[in-house]
C-alpha cells in the first residue's frame, strides 16, 4: 500500500518530550503516508504511547515539529482544530461516556461537534455499529458491555466522526485475551478503507499481518522501522532482535 506518489499525511520531525527530568522522546522523526497502517512496538515505557499522544496534542511536545497535511499542529489555529477533528484516538481504557447509551456515545459527539441533526446522527451511529457488529447493543450502557465490545464501540465512534487518522493506544491491553481477538479483527476490517492508522500494540503477529510498516521504539528513539518482513522476521538492530526474542519466548 505504500506508494511514493502518495503524499505524507503526518510528518514528525525530531520531536522531544520530557516529563520532569525524564526524557521520554529523544528526537523522534517519522513520516507517514495517507492510508498507511503502522504498528509501533516496543517495551513498556519506551515512549510509544507518548508519541501517539503527542500527535493529537494530548501531550505538548518540547521541541521539534509535527505536521499533519503539512500544517504544524503545535500552533493554536483554526486550521489546527479542523485537523485535530480528523484525528481520532482509541484508548486503552476505552473512555466511552458512561452516561450515554451505546448509540448516544456515537450520535451525541456527531451532534455536538459535527453539528449533524439527530436523525442523521442516529442513522450514522447505527450504520457504524453494524460495521463493528454491535447493532443489537444500541440501547445498552457502556457498563453493561464486555471490554471487547466497549472497544468496538470506541472504534465505531471514531469511524462515525470521520477520522482520517486513527491512533490506537494499546487497544487490547485492558481486554481479556480471548476477547482481544474480536477487537483486532475489527481493526483488521478497516485496513482497506483508506484510513491512516497508527497502532501501538504488543500483538506482534497481529502487527505483522496488518501493518505496512512496523516501527520499533526503544528508550525514546526509533531503533528500527520497515516492512514487517524486515523488522519482525529479519531485524537488523541488536535491540530489536533482543526484544523480539523475549516476546517469542513468551508466546
Amino acid at each position: 500500500m505504500t506508494n511514493n506518489s502518495v503524499e505524507n499525511i503526518i510528518d514528525i520531525i525530531d520531536i522531544r518530550k520530557s516529563f520532569g527530568a525524564l526524557e521520554v522522546l529523544k528526537g523522534v522523526s517519522l513520516s507517514i503516508k495517507k492510508g498507511e497502517i503502522i504498528s509501533i512496538i516496543g517495551s513498556s515505557g519506551s515512549g510509544k504511547s507518548t508519541l501517539l499522544r503527542c500527535i493529537n496534542q494530548l501531550e505538548q511536545i518540547d521541541s521539534g515539529e509535527i505536521l499533519i497535511h503539512k500544517c504544524p499542529i503545535n500552533k493554536k489555529s483554526i486550521s489546527q482544530k479542523k485537523i485535530l477533528k480528523k484525528t481520532g484516538m482509541v484508548f486503552q481504557q476505552f473512555n466511552l461516556f458512561p452516561h450515554y447509551s451505546v448509540l448516544e456515545n456515537i450520535s451525541k459527539p456527531l451532534m455536538t461537534v459535527n453539528k449533524i441533526s439527530k436523525v442523521k446522527a442516529d442513522k450514522l451511529a447505527i450504520d457504524t455499529l453494524k460495521m463493528v457488529k454491535l447493532e443489537d447493543k444500541t440501547n445498552n450502557y457502556p457498563l453493561q458491555l464486555s471490554g471487547g465490545q466497549k472497544q468496538r464501540v470506541a472504534i465505531a465512534r471514531e469511524l462515525a466522526m470521520g477520522s482520517e487518522i486513527i491512533l490506537f493506544d494499546e487497544p487490547t491491553s485492558a481486554i481479556d485475551p480471548e476477547l482481544a481477538f474480536e477487537v483486532l479483527s475489527t481493526i483488521k476490517s478497516l485496513a482497506n478503507t483508506g484510513r491512516t492508522m497508527l497502532i501501538v500494540t504488543h500483538h506482534i503477529n497481529f502487527a505483522k499481518e496488518i501493518s505496512d510498516r512496523i516501527v520499533f521504539i526503544d528508550e525514546g528513539t526509533i531503533c528500527e522501522e520497515g516492512p514487517p518482513c524486515q523488522v519482525i522476521l529479519n531485524p537488523k538492530n541488536a535491540r530489536t532482535k533482543q526484544f523480539l526474542n523475549k516476546i517469542n519466548k513468551l508466546f
Binding site: Q57, L84, G88, N95, F97, H99, Y141, L143
Partner: protein
C-alpha cells in the same frame, strides 16, 4: 405534657413552616446556581486574579459564621446605601453561604470524573464549554447529588438563624409561643420534628433521584 398548646397554635406554626420553607427553597436555588458556576470555574485552570477572587469568596463564607454574615448584610450594608428588606437579606445570606459550601462539592465532583473522559472529549473535538456541559457535569452531578442534598439540609437548618432578622419562621415562631406559654418541651420538640421531617423528605427524594441517575450504570 400539654400538646394542646401546639394544637392551638397550629395555624401560626403552619405559616412559620411555610416561611422557613420558602426562604430555604429560594436560597437553595440561588446557592445551587452559585455552586455550579463557582465550582465549575474553580475546577478550571483560571488566571491568578479570578482564581484568588473565587477562592476568597469560598473561604470567607465558609470561614465566618452565618449569623455574622446575616447581620452584616442586613445591618451593615445600609452604610453603603444598600438597604434590603429582611427576607431579601436572609435569602442573599443563606444563598452566599450555602453556595460557598456547595461549590466545593461541585468542584470535588468535577475533579473526580475520570481523566480519560477529558481526553476522549478533547480528541473528539469538543470545545471546553461543550466538554463541561455534555460530558463532565452530567457525570459530576451524579456524584454530587447526595452531598448537594446535605447542602439543602444545611440551608434549611441554617434558616433558623434568619429569625434574628425578625422573620417569623419556624424557630422564631417557637420562641414566640414559648414566651407566651412557658411550655418549651412541647413546643421545641414539635419544631425539631418539623425540621427533621422536612430534611427527611428531601433525603428520600434524593435517594430516588440518585437511584434513577445510577440506573444506567448498573
Amino acid at each position: 405534657m400539654d400538646f394542646l398548646i401546639v394544637y392551638r397554635n397550629l395555624p401560626f406554626i403552619a405559616e412559620a413552616t411555610y416561611k422557613t420553607l420558602i426562604h430555604t427553597v429560594i436560597a437553595f436555588a440561588f446557592a445551587l446556581a452559585i455552586a455550579f458556576i463557582v465550582g465549575t470555574l474553580r475546577s478550571f485552570n483560571l488566571k491568578r486574579l479570578p482564581r484568588l477572587f473565587l477562592s476568597f469568596y469560598v473561604e470567607f463564607f465558609r470561614g465566618s459564621p452565618l449569623l455574622i454574615q446575616l447581620f452584616f448584610i442586613y445591618y451593615g450594608l445600609p452604610k453603603f446605601n444598600i438597604v434590603l428588606d429582611s427576607s431579601t437579606a436572609a435569602i442573599i445570606g443563606l444563598a452566599l453561604n450555602g453556595g460557598a459550601y456547595m461549590s466545593e462539592i461541585i468542584r470535588a465532583a468535577i475533579l473526580s470524573v475520570d481523566k480519560g473522559q477529558y481526553e476522549a472529549s478533547y480528541t473528539l473535538g469538543y470545545t471546553g464549554l461543550q466538554k463541561t456541559w455534555h460530558i463532565i457535569l452530567p457525570q459530576a452531578i451524579r456524584i454530587a447529588v447526595p452531598s448537594i442534598v446535605n447542602g439543602f439540609s444545611g440551608i434549611l437548618k441554617g434558616s433558623s438563624l434568619i429569625s434574628v432578622l425578625s422573620i417569623t419562621e419556624l424557630t422564631r415562631a417557637g420562641q414566640l409561643i414559648y414566651t407566651r406559654t412557658s411550655k418549651p418541651f412541647e413546643i421545641y420538640l414539635v419544631i425539631a420534628l418539623l425540621y427533621f421531617l422536612m430534611t427527611y423528605i428531601v433525603s428520600l427524594l434524593a435517594l430516588n433521584i440518585e437511584s434513577k441517575l445510577s440506573a444506567k450504570y448498573n
